[in-house]
Amino acid sequence: MKSLSFSMRDLICGLFFIAVGLFFAIQAYGLDIGTAFKMGPGYFPLVLAGLLVIFGIIVIIQGTQVEHEPMGPIAWRGMLFILPAPILFGLTVRGLGFVPSLFLSGLLAAFASSKMRPGTALLLVSGLTLFSVVVFSYALGLPFRRFGPWLGQ
């Protein structure tokens, strides 16, 4: 039972370390490396990048020696709805203003759970928006435009 097999998790992890290490190494190589006495902007990053590549290789090798365990479920639905939420907020907060932008992003995020019902989501996000406007905009006085130019204001 001792055939050479790679742990999927460690293989991906090692390759990721190696890829990031190479990326930084290539970038650092384009900078002034300098000497140990007078280090240039590329010296320290190049050393670190080299270390990361070495660690990546070790992770892959170690992965052949451990018992493989499954990766477990992946939160596809969560990623689909949650990761775009701050992006949507970023895209609209200047144009639409704080209130509508927060409402839309909150609504988008709310559907990341399979248990969320549309009615509950609307109610929850409305309350959340109201709370945030009172606390962040009025009480803490953060300099957000509540309604933006896209709405003709």
Partner: protein, 500 residues
């Protein structure tokens, strides 16, 4: 008596009504997020960090500190009531605390945890006050070589705390260091690793990284499989411990406080290690070890005292040296930097009110916690019944608002999404985010001191081992690394034996 003068200054600062208010807000928020599963102290502090910029530096740091130790209290409440530790440092409390709750002694378990925590908090506050000044004096002698070596100790210690593969944790440290170097080289002004993106020339936003890797990634993990929480204990009665309880808890509390205070001072120590160590000790010296796991009072009193003591004393390296012992301390350092305070030994001399105010506020905060929490337990139990899907949209909204308010830059929000994805991916690969965050905070400092030390020594790398303090620190780092590697070597061997 310098100590008395200092503490007086501290209590006057912390006792200012405004600071008392923020201390109260901090401990209540901390307890709240400690009770609520799926959001930890690190994510909360990262989220609230930007909102504290408008406050005075003292008030904001007092509040952030309150969140940290408040979360320890809240975490033990859920550990005892529903066998689900809200914070990883209360994982041990769940073993015996939950068993006590099942026997109808939830009230006593909660009270023992609270009393132990308060006692430990009091002792460790005094310890911080006594040990901080001499350590600061030592730190003032530090040159670049010593700072470099000290940071190596901090980074290596963060590996010690990470679960799983040591090599992955090392990789995370290096990845964090590299991410910390993105932006502009401080010596030459050369832009580097910014991919031509203008917003990156000041470097990656620390808050965006922390919120993404700790906050967003945590939500994604929780959404993998949603399940309802079971709250068995609807009502908690009989809070006051009996005479036998007092007898059974006194010695473990004293021992837990001692263990926790000692382990907290070590960089990379802190609450988690302390609680595990205390549980092990209590079980070993107990006359009735068979009771452990079935509701032993010592199994609650010891670890709860230890984790609170450890949480408090882990402020010592942060306050005196400017070196974070854990991700929360890294965030506190981030908060200081944003407030225009340079963390390090000079804080105690240049900002005595801030320094002693934070220390004094810890004791006040602990007092607030014990006065508030025992009566409020009913409320916390109710909060536990809120389903998770009602909570996370708010967390995401607050994260977005918080990050955007740092410098009204929408690019930071895209960075949150990116780091959320990165953090989730890394957790799927069993890579822990804590070493990454520490590396990110220390990256620029580490490079600066390395380059400066090398210039001072005219390019001679032996400067790090010929200066005694620096050598001592590097040896300490090496020792920690060896100790960390040992158990995994042993585990490897075990596996080989099993296969034979």
């Amino acid at each position: 008596m310098e100590l008395i003068d200092n503490l007086t200054l501290g209590f006057v600062t912390a006792g200012h009504p405004w600071n008392l208010l923020f201390c109260l807000i901090g401990v209540i928020l901390g307890t709240l997020i400690g009770v609520l599963p799926g959001i930890g102290a690190t994510a909360t502090i990262a989220m609230l960090l930007p909102l504290t910029f408008q406050l005075e530096p003292v008030s904001s740091l007092i509040m952030l500190a309150g969140i940290y130790y408040g979360a320890q209290y809240g975490g033990s409440t859920t550990a005892i009531l529903i066998n689900m530790p809200g914070e990883s440092s209360s994982a041990v409390t769940a073993i015996d605390g939950y068993q006590m709750a099942r026997k109808g002694r939830a009230g006593a378990a909660l009270a023992i945890a609270a009393i132990g925590s308060f006692f430990a908090g009091t002792v460790s506050t005094i310890l911080v006050a006594v040990f901080a000044p001499p350590l600061t004096a030592v730190a003032l002698q530090f040159g670049s070589a010593e700072y470099f070596s000290l940071m190596i100790v901090g980074l290596v210690s963060s590996i010690a705390l990470a679960h799983g593969s040591v090599i992955k944790a090392l990789g995370m440290v290096v990845l964090g260091l590299l991410l910390g170097l993105v932006g502009t080289d401080i010596y030459t002004g050369t832009p580097r690793f910014n991919l031509g993106i203008l917003e990156l020339s000041d470097g990656l936003n620390f808050v965006a990284l922390a919120v993404g890797v700790f906050g967003i990634a945590e939500i994604l993990r929780n959404l993998e499989n949603e399940h309802e929480r079971d709250v068995m204990i609807k009502k908690v009665t009989n809070l006051w411990p009996t005479r036998e309880d007092w007898k059974a808890m006194t010695a473990p509390i004293l021992r837990g406080t001692a263990i926790g205070s000692a382990l907290g001072i070590l960089p990379g120590g802190g609450a988690i290690l302390a609680s595990f160590a205390s549980y092990t000790v209590e079980k070993r010296i107990s006359k009735t070890p068979e009771e452990f796991g079935k509701g032993a009072i010592a199994g609650v009193a010891g670890p709860e005292s230890a984790n609170n003591a450890g949480a408090q004393t882990s402020f010592i390296p942060m306050l005196t040296l400017g070196i974070p012992a854990n991700p929360v301390m890294a965030l506190m350092i981030g908060a200081m930097i944003i407030q225009g305070i340079v963390p390090g030994p000079n804080v105690a001399t240049e900002q005595p009110a801030l320094f002693w105010g934070i220390i004094a506020s810890m004791w006040i905060g602990n007092l607030m916690l014990i006065l508030l929490n025992l009566p409020l337990i009913g409320l916390w139990v109710k909060l536990l019944t809120i389903p998770y899907y009602m909570l996370f949209p708010a967390i995401i909204a607050f994260c977005s608002i918080g990050v955007y308010s740092v410098n009204s830059n929408v690019f930071d929000l895209y960075a949150v999404a990116f780091f959320g994805l990165l953090g989730y991916g890394l957790s799927k690969l069993r890579c822990e985010p804590a070493p990454l965050l520490l590396g990110f905070v220390l990256g620029p400092l580490l490079e600066e001191h390395l380059r400066r030390a090398m210039i001072m020594s005219r390019g001679d790398p032996t400067t790090f081992v010929t200066r005694p303090l620096s050598l001592g620190l590097l040896l300490l780092a090496a020792a920690v690394l060896v100790v960390v590697l040992l158990p995994s070597i042993r585990k490897k061997r075990d596996e080989v034996f099993v296969e034979d």
